[in-house]
């Protein structure tokens, strides 16, 4: 706050400039700024862009661009946090992927990027992810949330399959499951036993936060 470099760094995020964000993050750290404070400043920029997106004043390329630019700065800042032995409150952790048989990437990427921008730890399994891979990742990462995307009606039931597998493995009660994608509706999400569904990426992030609060 108040530092010239932080101001420039916030501007780099507003201008979606990932390279400058990385350079400026390094500069900020060499100036001895507190990495946690810098991260919080940058997340506030993303939140404001998210609000403008919600109002229809900004659009997906802006939101994703800003979140992507933040990813230029984050590794530098997190490295510094580790080096200094500081501890940053993580909002939560998410395993995310597009289900087996479905190679739609963009919606899942949007949600993943926005979750990261809001301070979540995101483990992205990519597309065409089998139930086994989802279960393996849940066991390994022990995330707060599992997020699954399906754009096709023919693959939507893969989400149900994964939830059943979670049940069988005794993992279901430890985790919140959220689902999304063009093929999904509120009714469907309830029917397959998911904890939540939202039709847009911005709402999905709000849903994730809400579920964590509820515990």
């Amino acid at each position: 706050m108040g530092s010239d470099t932080t101001t420039k760094l916030k501007l780099a995020i507003e201008e979606y400039d990932k390279e400058s964000a990385e350079t400026l993050a390094k500069q900020a750290m060499s100036e001895g700024l507190n990495p946690i404070e810098v991260i919080n400043d940058l997340i506030s920029v993303i939140s404001r862009i998210g609000d403008d997106f919600g109002k229809g004043e900004l659009f997906l390329p802006d939101l994703i661009g800003a979140a992507d630019a933040l990813q230029g700065a984050m590794p530098v800042l997190e490295e510094e946090i580790a080096k200094k032995g500081l501890k940053r409150e993580k909002v939560g952790s998410v395993v995310i992927g597009t289900v087996f048989g479905d190679i739609h990437n963009i919606g899942k990427d949007m949600v993943g990027t926005l979750l990261m921008a809001e301070g979540f730890d995101v483990h992205d399994l990519g597309i065409n992810v089998t139930a086994d891979t989802f279960i393996g990742a849940v066991k390994e990462q022990n995330p707060d949330i599992l997020a699954m995307s399906s754009l096709l009606t023919t693959t939507a039931y893969e989400q149900e399959k994964v939830i059943k597998e979670l049940d069988k493995s005794g993992l279901r009660s430890h985790i919140k499951v959220i689902v999304g994608g063009g093929a999904i509706t509120d009714d469907f999400a309830q029917k397959i036993g998911a904890d939540g569904y939202e039709p847009t990426a911005v709402e999905a992030v709000k849903l994730a936060k809400r579920l964590l609060k509820e515990g």
């Binding site: 979606y16 802006d62 661009g65 190679i103 990437n105 990427d109 063009g182 039709p199």
Partner: protein, 483 residues
């Protein structure tokens, strides 16, 4: 800054060169053989002294084709219409298209869809909405809300023009009737803006007294005029497109000749306002296919001489509501008109033909204009837009373009993004209470009426001067027993 669109491809052309010549030859023959009736002494004298054969008793003027062609030659191919704010000025001619407010007499009640009375305040509020719309380049001073309960009918034109210049920086227009054009000119002068006179010969083949009087006033004041003869195919003009085009051309050209004889170089927009007759009830068939076809022919004919064109009837509907039929008729007509090269195109606000009007409709129409306007601009092809390097870099699935700087740089420029048309997904739409276009447009109108002000506003002195002109007009009309 007022938005005009530049068409970046060849215009739609329906006629071959022989057909163009045949219709123009017919137009010249009509003017030379049958001629036009001119109900104005000074105009008759002027035509006679310039080589026309004039029958003063029968008020008939026969215009030789050499003179008609000479007058066409004196008409500017392009010209600037200067607004009081330079950003609102219009450059007429060439492949530029401006969209603007459409005429319709009365307000419509958008709950019952019945005709409603309006007030001067509503007129002013509506003009402020027009001022705020992105794709609207010109307003109408008087040709909507013509039955305001608090304005005597003879004062509607002068009050309307005053309301237009006070509530918008955009170019507006006046009409010739009971000297209203003279008060309108004075008001425009005080406001520091050009003003367009909407001139209408009476079909078939007649230049009425008001028309001639208005042409003298505006030509002498070097102000632009639209020449718009509103014939009805099968009624006041032939039922065929070729015949109707020839007789409409003759009416427009006779008016153009009068203007050029009064003052060479007079700025003219050759207008089309022709409808087929609704043979079921005898009224103009506002939303008919034939209107679009007529406009396309008209635009091609006048492009032969590079004279700017206007379509006054380019986007009317027969529907009484803002509904599917309304959207279909207005959009199709607008598209035909814009693709065929209209320079000055009226669309905003009319609901049913020339009879009902509402600002909510204007907001919806503005979206159609944005769509069509962007279409007119076509596309750019160069290394950056072709994006081959990027396509190579992104590669197959799971690569995508959403995160790329190229997308951020280009998507807005390449697309038209409507602000009120519904574009949500079904779940979002349900969540928001299933809104439709009308509720979006109503909200926008309410917001603009509450918040929008023209920039810059007129000064107090200018407003006082306009008040004085209106007072004088009212006094003059009272003395003539018209109020």
């Amino acid at each position: 800054m007022v938005k005009g669109y530049t068409r970046n491809f060849k215009p739609l052309e329906l006629l071959n060169e022989d057909q163009v010549k045949a219709i123009w030859n017919g137009t010249f023959e009509i003017l030379e053989t049958t001629g036009v009736r001119v109900e104005h002494e000074k105009a008759l004298d002027l035509f006679e002294s310039n080589g026309c054969s004039v029958d003063t008793a029968g008020k008939r003027v026969r215009i030789p084709s050499w003179l008609a062609e000479q007058c066409i030659g004196k008409t500017p191919k392009s010209f600037l219409i200067n607004a009081r704010d330079p950003g609102s000025s219009l450059r007429m001619g060439g492949n530029r298209t401006y969209f603007g407010q459409n005429a319709s007499m009365s307000k419509v009640n958008i709950d019952t869809w019945e005709v409603a009375k309006s007030t001067l305040q509503e007129h002013s509020d509506a003009i402020r909405v027009m001022d705020a719309l992105d794709n609207l380049a010109f307003t109408l001073g008087y040709e909507y809300y013509m039955d305001m309960v608090d304005v005597p009918s003879v004062m509607v034109m002068a009050e309307g023009v005053a309301s237009a210049v006070r509530n918008s920086t955009k170019i507006t227009s006046a009409g010739p009737s009971y000297d209203a054009e003279k008060y309108s000119l004075e008001i425009a002068k005080v406001a520091g803006t050009d003003i367009i006179l909407e001139e209408a010969p009476s079909p078939p083949l007649t230049l009425p007294e008001d028309f001639c009087e208005g042409t003298f006033s505006f030509a002498e004041a070097c102000m632009p005029m639209t020449m718009v003869s509103g014939s009805v195919m099968g009624g006041t003009g032939p039922a065929t497109f070729a015949g109707s085009a020839a007789s409409n051309n003759a009416e427009v050209l006779a008016g153009l000749c009068l203007a050029q004889l009064i003052k060479p170089g007079s700025k003219i927009l050759a207008g089309d306002f022709v409808y087929p007759m609704n043979m079921g009830n005898g009224s103009p068939d506002f939303g008919a296919m034939g209107v679009g076809l007529h406009i396309a022919i008209h635009n091609q004919l006048w492009r032969r001489y590079d004279i700017p064109t206007m379509s006054g009837q380019a986007a009317y509907s027969n529907s009484k509501k803002i509904d599917w039929q309304n959207g279909a008729e207005k959009s199709l007509m607008l598209f035909a008109s814009a693709l065929s090269g209209t320079n000055y195109l009226s669309i905003h606000g009319s609901v049913f033909g020339e009879l009902t009007w509402h600002p909510v409709q204007a907001v919806v129409d503005d979206e159609i204009c944005g769509w069509v306007g962007r279409f007119l601009e076509g596309i750019e092809v160069n290394d950056d837009t072709l994006a081959l390097d990027l396509i190579h870099k992104v590669g197959p699935v799971p690569g995508h373009f959403l995160k790329t700087a190229h997308t951020r740089k280009w998507w807005r420029h390449e697309q038209f993004t409507p602000s009120t048309f519904d574009r949500t997904s079904i779940p979002e739409w349900i969540k928001r209470g299933k809104p439709d276009i009308l509720s979006h447009a109503k909200q926008k109108v309410d917001r603009l009426i509450a918040e929008h002000k023209p920039e810059p506003p007129l000064s107090d002195d200018q407003n006082k001067e306009i008040d004085e002109i209106l007072k004088r007009a009212r006094r003059d009309y009272e003395q003539k027993g018209l109020i």
